[in-house]
Symmetry: C2
Subunit: 502 residues, 2 copies
């Protein structure tokens, strides 16, 4: 192992970067234009916890804050800096931050190696040399760092969540970083740290992966990568980190045209599909193929216990739904075991008739079955030993008819809060997770009230620790990723211990 591993508890120099007390923002404008002013306003909006020191050679004031004429003028040792000056003067700004004691800087400015010009490449080399003297660099050509706990945010991320959580995300692409952070906010993925490292002149995938592997705040690591600089070191890091926590990898640019687009986008090498896929599998990384799958898989890993899910129940109203569920589950290698007859009978006793069935899938016959009945159904089904997890499909849009009939808003007549509490209790009592799926077939302009209700319902379930998916297939795919990760981890551990015993 050629990489220093930190033990949990050790102070890592990168900690100062994610939780800076004193932050310089180099390159704000009095008029409030440009990236520097943009990120400053975003940091104010999100409520950054430290002290900010705006810098511009002309001085002045922005949003009631003094603008320092130089980094040297700042009356404190700085921890971290945001640099958003034109590329040509970035090295000077970076050097000034280094002398001012900064542990690191994120360089938002573009105009470096991504241009493909000798000047751009040389400028990036200069940045790398300054970094080598002790200031760690994120970027250039990036959207920076989002850390909900300290209030650092991406460009432009004034409205990201301040709730901290177990998921870290690494990407070269700023677009992917900001998009995933936004998706996470409503989907329920809570972040420890998000880093968009752009051209990656200094800090990049390998070192950040190792850091996050040791970060006690991070339980799940998600990454979007278009290409890595040092393949063997990346594999080494992956192999080491996946022993401790899952690493979900979305590799972009595996196709011919995709590789071409990667070259235009981040000037990395796209790489061969077969090589990437086999390497990722060998390192027990979880490979996904889209941003949505990345988000859904991160949600599942962060909210569900890490184990192999062999058998599940699927309960919901509508026979065709149960059939679709069974077909999809099989496609992902998940069983719907035929429930023990005594359990089936017990469930049938509490379900409305006719139209219901309870052998698994469980057809509750109509969409208005009240939460306390659904709770009993789930509690009873969980008694079957072959059930590892339960999925409850709820077609909540049906309550719109009830709303029209009663004259009340659909969000007032839909019992999603009671249902969320009921499901939360089922999980607590049975120790078996429940996933809620809330498809929405009514997405017309006239049905915005249904959308509003569904969004409030999602928040209610999340507050009970219950993940929500729009679509059953997405949920099953995510569950399967957890199972696959755990199965491979067990196999690798067995191999390791048996090779140790010789």
């Amino acid at each position: 192992m050629n990489c220093v591993e930190l033990k949990p508890g050790d102070a890592d120099p990168l900690d100062r970067i994610f939780h800076p007390e004193h932050l310089a923002i180099v390159g704000v404008s009095v008029q409030g234009r440009g990236f520097g002013s943009g990120i400053l306003m975003s940091l104010r909006e999100i409520g950054f916890e430290g002290t900010m020191y705006p810098v511009n050679a002309r001085g002045g004031e922005i949003a009631g804050m003094r603008i320092y004429k130089s980094v040297e003028e700042i009356p404190a040792r700085i921890d971290f800096a945001v640099i958003a000056v034109p590329a040509g003067v970035v090295p000077d700004a970076l050097e000034a931050c280094r002398r001012k004691g900064a542990a690191g800087a994120e360089i938002l400015s573009a105009g470096f190696s991504e241009l493909g010009t000798p000047e751009g490449v040389a400028l990036e080399e200069t940045v790398r040399q300054i970094a080598g003297k002790g200031i760690r660099v994120i970027g250039p050509n990036c959207f920076g760092i989002y850390c909900p706990r300290s209030g650092l945010t991406l460009l432009p991320g004034p409205d990201l969540s301040r709730e901290s959580g177990p998921v870290a995300f690494l990407a070269q692409s700023g677009g992917m970083a900001i998009d995933f952070s936004h998706i996470g906010k409503w989907m329920g993925v809570r972040f420890s740290k998000v880093v968009s490292f752009g051209n990656g002149a200094d800090l990049r995938e390998v070192e950040l992966l190792n850091y996050l592997g040791n970060d006690p705040e991070t339980k799940v690591i998600a990454t979007y990568t278009e290409g890595v600089k040092d393949g063997p070191a990346f594999c080494d890091a992956l192999r080491r980190v996946t022993k401790k926590k899952p690493v979900i990898v979305h590799k972009g640019g595996l196709s011919e045209a995709g590789g071409r687009a990667v070259a235009s986008h981040t000037a990395s090498l796209g790489g061969n599909r077969v090589i990437w896929e086999s390497v990722l599998r060998q390192c027990n990384a979880v490979q996904v193929t889209s941003l949505w799958e990345l988000a859904q898989t991160s949600l599942a890993f962060s909210m569900l216990p890490e184990r192999i899910y062999r058998g599940i129940t699927v309960a919901g109203g509508g026979g065709a739904l149960g059939i679709a569920a069974s077909d999809s589950a099989e496609a992902f290698g998940i069983q719907l075991p035929l429930l023990d007859p005594a359990i089936t009978d017990a469930i049938m006793e509490i379900l409305p008739k006719p139209g219901s069935s309870a052998r698994n899938p469980i057809d509750v016959a109509n969409p208005y079955v009240p939460p306390h009945i659904l709770k009993e159904v789930l509690l009873t089904a969980a008694k079957d030993d072959r059930v590892d997890l339960q999925i409850l499909i709820q077609l909540l849009y049906h309550y719109k008819s009830m709303a029209l009939f009663s004259g009340c808003p659909v969000k007032d007549v839909t019992p999603f809060r009671e249902l969320a509490a009921a499901v939360g209790e089922v999980v607590a009592v049975t120790g078996k997770p429940v996933i809620v799926v809330t498809p929405n077939i009514k997405q017309g302009i006239e049905s915005l009230d249904i959308e509003e209700m569904l969004r409030e319902a999602r928040a209610a379930f999340l507050s009970e620790g219950v993940p929500v998916f729009d679509d059953l297939e997405d949920a099953l795919r995510a569950i399967n990723h957890i199972s696959q990760y755990c199965a491979r981890k067990e196999t690798l551990e067995r191999k390791h211990s048996s090779s140790n015993s010789f």
Copy 2:
């Protein structure tokens, strides 16, 4: 061929069923409860074009309409009847309708063979015998017929669209029929006829498929099936109809647990996955695996020319998006050809810089590129002969920042109407279809205004004949279905003509 084929133009007895002038509704209640009254109110709401005759032995009035005490009392020859009386009296009601000259009846009532009881089976046999005397039966245990042109609607479908279109849908499952009809409304799938035939005592998949194959209003047939009664006849019908128009089949219950659920739901045999898949392929049916895929594929077939799509362009803002697009396209066997250098240069001349690229995928560098520029980009790219179709990815949610800045609602600052007109013009000028993809990463409670804008944008694109997908992968999958159908059709035609030439 053991089935009489009708030539277009011939009057088919089923035509009277879909477009009844005189409709009996047998089994309404004065109190307005039950399926009979429910369907009557839905028919009024949607604006059924014919005359309705409610029937109940007690007589009285409902919603200002006279209730006839018997079918015999109706002062007209009826064309079609909705029967919603208790199962035991269904045969009498059906026989009365037959004597009154009805071409057919839909029986909404449950309590027949789906119960699995000897009584239920016998009752259904009685229904079948009456049907054999000349009145065609839809059901029992079904949601009936939806025909936008005449205003017949499903149970409960007061709010379905009255716009007619090229897609027919057949399903045993009422839930699937009503769900697909609702999805079609906002997604842009316009229907000729939707039939939920439930237990299928008389009319079922084979005869309906043949009818729709000859129906000049129907250009695309979609079906959800849990099992067919007569396999060879179904294959025969499929093979014959797919020569004329695409038939999209979603077969539910191919898994073990799914087959079990089918048995509970419609008492059909689920059938073996391998057999079904190979039969469907041989008959050139388009197989899909979910209701969403069924809807998306129907949308694509109904709005795009039937041809093999080999090469496409993908244009949009954000490098990572283009990369994802390229990777997905390859997975579906679709090429993104490297554009002719002269075309690339011409596009680069009009795109904002830096950050843009135009070799294909086309990265337009930012989400605010105005419609007239995007129009030029699409017009120029279409000049490459290898481009059969173009995809425009638009991240319209970005306009929210502009809305916040200007204080105007996001739907007012987002130029989706101009964009829809521009794209419509591109299609008209180039003769090459364009698909618009509008992903939405902001689905929080605070972003309902973005959702509203996106729904209005979808309607605007649809009114220009441009299909919209939420997700690029769904669009590519649907395009691939069209290509596969056309390729197999060509092969089958070649085989047929070469065997004829000997």
